[in-house]
């Protein structure tokens, strides 16, 4: 083992340790950390963009849910309205039908009453006329007591006069 001196080797060892530590410090300060920082910044930026995008997605999802809910509500309300309208319409129709029926019945009743009344009136007026006629005829007959043919003639004349 030529060339080996313990003190020299020990100094070399210490110098080399310091050397490597110096290199480590240089590389860490000037190369490693800047690149690391660079990468971290980019990662943070990417992360922020990602989180923003996620937020936007969440917002869009919320909006969609809201709209879905709203549309569901609307459909529900619409259905209800339709049902109600149906109900009221049928109710009203029933009412109208009932009223119309009632009106028709009333009208029928009235008309019937009217007809009956007119019939009565007619009957009385006819009776009156018949009585008047009978009185008139009898007056004519009584006025000229003539033959049967004359009587007949008188009657005919009367009727002719009456008609004419």
């Amino acid at each position: 083992m030529e060339g080996f001196v313990l003190s020299q080797a020990a100094t070399d060892l210490i110098i080399n340790i310091l050397n490597i530590i110096l290199l480590f410090l240089i590389v860490r300060a000037l190369v490693y950390k800047p690149v690391r920082k660079f990468l971290d910044q980019r990662a943070a930026r990417v992360e922020s963009i990602k989180s923003e995008a996620e937020k936007a997605l969440q917002k869009a999802k919320d909006q969609e849910e809201k709209y879905q809910k709203l549309s569901e509500e609307n459909t529900e309300r619409c259905n209800q309205l339709l049902r109600e309208a149906d109900k009221t319409a049928s109710k009203k129709a029933e009412e109208i039908i009932a009223e119309a029926k009632k009106q028709g019945d009333d009208y029928l009743k009235e008309q019937r009453e009217k007809i009956a009344h007119e019939h009565e009136d007619m009957l009385t007026s006819m009776q009156d006329e018949i009585v008047d006629m009978a009185v008139g005829i009898s007056e004519q007959i009584l006025k000229r007591e003539v033959s049967e043919s004359d009587n007949e003639k008188i009657v005919r004349e009367y009727f002719a006069a009456k008609n004419g």
Binding site: G3, I26, V27, R28, L30, V31, Y32
Partner: protein
Amino acid sequence: MSTVSIIELIVSAVLSAVGIIGFFATKKDEITDKKQKKKHRLFLVLIIIAVWFLIGTVIQIFSKIKMGLSVEFQLFSNRVTFFGFSVAETTLVGWGIVLIALLLSLIFRLFVFPKFDPDHPKGFQNVMELAVEATQNFTGGILGDYGKQVAPYMFSLAVFMIFSAFSELLGFRPPTSDLTVTFAMGLITFFLINYYGIRKKGVDGRLKGMMVPTPIVLPMKILSDIATPVSLACRLFGNMLGGVIVMHLLKSALGGYAVGIPAVAGLYFNLFHPIIQTYIFIILSLTFISEAVE
């Protein structure tokens, strides 16, 4: 100049000339025949070998490098005087690495990082981000929460080891093939193991963790804990020194002809091997720390 080298020179020159003439002679023809194509390629190979041989011979003659399997090597690196102080050559190389790293990181910090595009990384920025992120994920995968704190140290350790592997290409002895440097790394790892172990569990908790089956194993566990930095240091040192010695042997064996072949071998011994050892050193350090933290 000996007669042998003159003969070598003549032979290699003739061979290269033949190769070049043959190459161009076959190239002029319309190459449709399969045999002709093969001939053409054969001449190309001949050119490469002959030119390599020629260059090797010229270097051999003029540089007086001796071929042979003898390699002069010292276990501890040479001492050089630096401003009146006697320091190891590898320590000097280590300082050079720190200086280069300082300059490079200052350039990065002052001129390259401000130009980085925060949203569209490209080119060099991608490389830096990938390196930092990969380190972070790697340490975090093994150590969990403490991984973030250890990550810059492991990053700088990887920088140091890869730079030192490249320093071998410039003809220096790489710092990682010096036992004092690897011991320094091992001691820092040892410090980290105990620091995180005590921070997580406290001193008595760490001692209790060592007495897991019975209290009798406590001395053995302490011994194995002390052996950890030694094992780490020796592993790295042996691996790197082995690579360096193999490269030296190859170069000395080839002598002046060591022109193209060591480059191919260097792909393994100067590039792949140090990277694998870096990976192993870091993963073992992390594993030991995570063992202490658990």
